[in-house]
Symmetry: D2
Subunit: 338 residues, 4 copies
């Protein structure tokens, strides 16, 4: 890190900073500029709390140099990671993995009908919530274990890998018994106890970016999981909260090349949550594939106007099938396949 | 709600919407305008998923009329609620309650020293984390139960009510055994399982606004707690995430009069998290009191440059004492007291 | 619009709202719900100031129904508009138009070298600023008319259409004398006098979205230009300001399908401003083409590390050439061409 | 500035950066850390384009050290500036200056009535727009010179200083002939030609912060004016654009102490634009005074429900009078006066 002193900092204040740096078991290097003095701190300060130095008299600001995450970083592992998805070829290689299904598991019939349809169109994973994080306590909260059983039956019938959300530490074992991939939702991206718990399971994790998380915070959330021994993490961009009004969230597709630049983990895009509007999903699927996404996760419902959750952003099986045809062509144009 | 049809919607599409409204056990009222037809939906649709109608052919948008929360609303209870704070006069009345203390409980000596100092200066509550939500898995995570015991001893010695964070459902019982108030942090504002769990305890809850939560989402989080039977909820504004760079968060003080307008729950301001800079805390405490805050929660550390967490935003006991003098005068000027 | 009354609004207050609506020469329709009364306002209130009713006693909120723009809207004109770009096939049809060039015109040699290179790679327009809006008064402000002459010579030599910024009403005539397309920058999107002035010229306008403009504000800015008689407007998304830190702006690609949904005007994407990082430009060009953009405007510099402006986001002619090859393939995959 | 090299940067790349630094007539200081090399750049790089170095091979990022503004900075002038407001004691001293009046000048009668009322209650300045920046081209655009004449008559009758907006370079002379203070609106904060033009006038300027401007950009806009010789600049915080929905803008009151920390210019708060809701204005006036604002600018209308602009955020003369009484008490409590 670099400690920038105030314009009028005294030599004594600089010396005090130097002493604090030494206390941290780091080395200092003082540079006296024409207007400011800065103290360059040498050594691995990745895991130190740098902000503490900001409270010191004479200090103007502290600038970090090293990223605070390690296991998730490209510096740690140069080649891209591939995370398994059921028995399939995994997410992160040449093949782009498509995960599709209803927002919520509502009934066996609904889930099986959608599962067969998305399988037919080329999906490799089935999404569907049995435990649902709902903004209102009065809204449908999911079928719980009954929903998980329905998902398992859908896997049985279609071979699709099951991706489903776990909301709380006491659900991890149960969900892991049924699912192929544990999804951690955006609202839980900094539920650190949950991150630790899924880190201790041996299931791949689809980690959604918090709705106003920086990429650094996102990668540190992945780091929580990885630090517990589970390195099978997929990073899922699902739109961020901005002032925009025509979408529920602003899908930040530049996160794809940026995450690929700084991390080895695969990147999955959720254009359903990422826009909140079914009529924007197709374009954003196309864009995500062109921009280099390793996977997509898409809400598909056979009867959106009666969906118990997220009807406004679900596309129909027919729309999904058409979209798949479109992205297969785009995938080829960027030397990948769907 | 109001369902706005597209300009070119057909009579058949309008009829279909009417049928869906009837299916919801609500009444419709169709208004044919000069350019658009709208379907006004009559009846209590507070707990319906309105967005589902957005997926229907011919529908342009759906506009909610009723707020989706009930127990937290002013419509439910006209007079302001007062939430107890230890043996004190509570938060929400004429007296403004000041809660102060370290970000983390680091040691008995540190905690007791700070507790005595803030008590002396007029605080009625002691804050301090025993379980710490940290962005990095490598950062100090709190002293856990040992920290809770130190807090209990500080209460013993000073009479201050203890406000401390609970991060996970499995900690609720333990924390409730020691604390007077359970704090739910910003990152957990939509950890719905945790909200349910604290809703089932009988301790007052200090609920922090999520870093990008709307006030509606904030009040729905309070509603989760209240719907489980615990109505002793304090709403804590702690800054929101914006593009601003000179602060860690943008403190949205207009939330004070707005929350008072729509809800009966007391409002507490956190100027420490709300700015992230110790040198901005004093001004924001003054502003919060003038704007009508019912309480403040402030980070105070006896040695900020060695604080294990949040040193940059902690003020010293001396600064706290000076600030208290200043806000006492402002409180009187707005016909309240500290 | 819909006027939503407060829960406890009196019949007298409702009557007062009805009278105000009649004063506006509009018709009212009062609907008494189970909890709230709403007054639906019938007639063309597109150009009325609706917020005024919010100040009336007993009114809770006012919900607009009609979009406030008209000429820019899809309702006005169903088919997509094509805006001419020099002698070329225009922007808005099957062919995607690529505009490339330096951020600033720095010298004749620099500009010509870049112009030839981007022409060679398939660009149809040359961008380059002669008047530069700079955040700092001490930064390079552009070559003014000398720069325009250099651009004109580049057109002479290459046939590329010239796209260049006009910053102020007193520059409109001068810039229009040299340029094929007048660019209005993001910082001037609500410089209404400038919008009127370019609306009175007969040159096509590339209008950049303000850095925190809603799409409604963006389309109203276009409406200013169109209302003065100039309907040749291209809408340029160039990234919005959010809390994200790894980019200078967050490129909101969902704006492409949304603008196509509500407007007939062509949509151009600026991935250079839209990310601020040269290494993200290629991916965002690919994504924009896949998502349906009608054009791209890209900063290219032959010597980015000595560029007088925006070196960090400029790609080299070689990178541009490679990118063009990539997007040609993607364009074919979405049934378009570059 | 500090140039941070990539982890795997070669010595040759470092050497190249050193050469570029020398080309800039600055001195370099290379520090080889355990994981990264950084090049500290010594000398006044305040007015250099630092981002250019980001495009250089092997460079990871560039961190500025010096603020890019000079004349507006506290480093340039330690004591607070006082900007004259008509014949009054000015803005920036112990006395807090209150500017009030209608959003738009609509008629002589309206303006005079409001002017007398606000004067009576203690205002020292009269606000009112003769040229109005309107989001829609179809909205009321102001009375132009006729409006300025009405304002001048109001000054004649009341002694209030006139604060009114100038939207375009061709209006500067005209507005300066009538007004005491030239207001530059938020939408024009980066209309650099206008900043230069008001910088060349000899009238005090009330500069509004752009709706998504950083404080650095805000101070650089002030620097534009000051660099032209006009140092009488007041900085006006008027709310920023965020995701919040209950307000038109989020009023960032921490900007008051921060601007006072880094600049000597006085700070004025606009709670009307800053919230967009008349019922939030009173609380935000109180908070602003407590937080140290040097002035307030407030929209007051004698008939808000018929106001031609901004009725929803205007308070009545009676509400203004009550508010003034409240803030007089708060001002005394912070050792100032209104």
């Amino acid at each position: 890190m670099i400690v920038v002193m105030k314009e009028n900092a005294t030599p004594k204040q600089v010396e005090h900073v130097v002493n604090l740096v030494k206390e941290m078991k780091l080395k200092e290097h003082v540079i006296v500029g024409t207007e400011r003095t800065v103290v360059a701190v040498i050594g691995n300060d990745r895991f130190k709390d740098r902000s503490v130095l900001e409270s010191v008299d004479g200090v103007d600001k502290v600038v970090p140099i090293l990223a605070p995450y390690k296991m998730a970083s490209k510096e740690m592992k140069k080649e891209r990671s591939i995370v398994p998805l059921g028995n399939k070829s995994g997410i992160g290689g040449t093949k782009i993995g498509i995960i599709a299904g209803p927002c919520s598991v509502e009934s066996k019939q609904q889930t099986l009908e959608i599962a067969h349809a998305v399988k037919e169109a080329g999906a490799v994973g089935l999404r569907g919530g049995a435990f649902k994080p709902r903004t209102s306590p009065y809204a449908f909260q999911g079928l719980a274990e009954e929903g998980l059983k329905i998902l398992a039956e859908a896997r049985e019938q279609t071979g699709l890998a099951i991706v489903t959300e776990v909301m709380s530490i006491d659900q991890v074992k149960l969900v892991a018994d049924y699912a192929d991939v544990l999804q951690v939702g955006a609202r839980n991206m900094q539920n650190f106890n949950l991150l630790n718990a899924v880190g201790e399971s041996n299931k791949p994790v689809l980690l959604k970016r918090g709705m106003s998380a920086t990429l650094e915070e996102f990668l540190l959330a992945a780091e929580y999981i990885m630090a517990k021994g589970n390195t099978q993490v997929m990073l899922c961009e699902r739109g961020i909260r901005t002032y925009e009004e025509y979408v529920r969230n602003t899908l930040a597709l530049a996160a794809i090349p940026e995450l690929h630049r700084v991390s080895h983990l695969p990147v999955v895009i959720d254009p359903s949550q990422g826009t909140g509007k079914s009529y924007l999903v197709d374009s954003m699927c196309r864009a995500a594939v062109a921009a280099g996404a390793d996977g997509l996760i898409i809400e598909v419902h056979n009867d959106p106007e009666h969906a118990m959750t997220d009807g406004a952003q679900s596309i129909t099986p027919q729309q999904f099938t058409d979209m798949m045809k479109a992205i297969k062509r785009i995938a080829l144009a960027v030397d990948r396949e769907v």
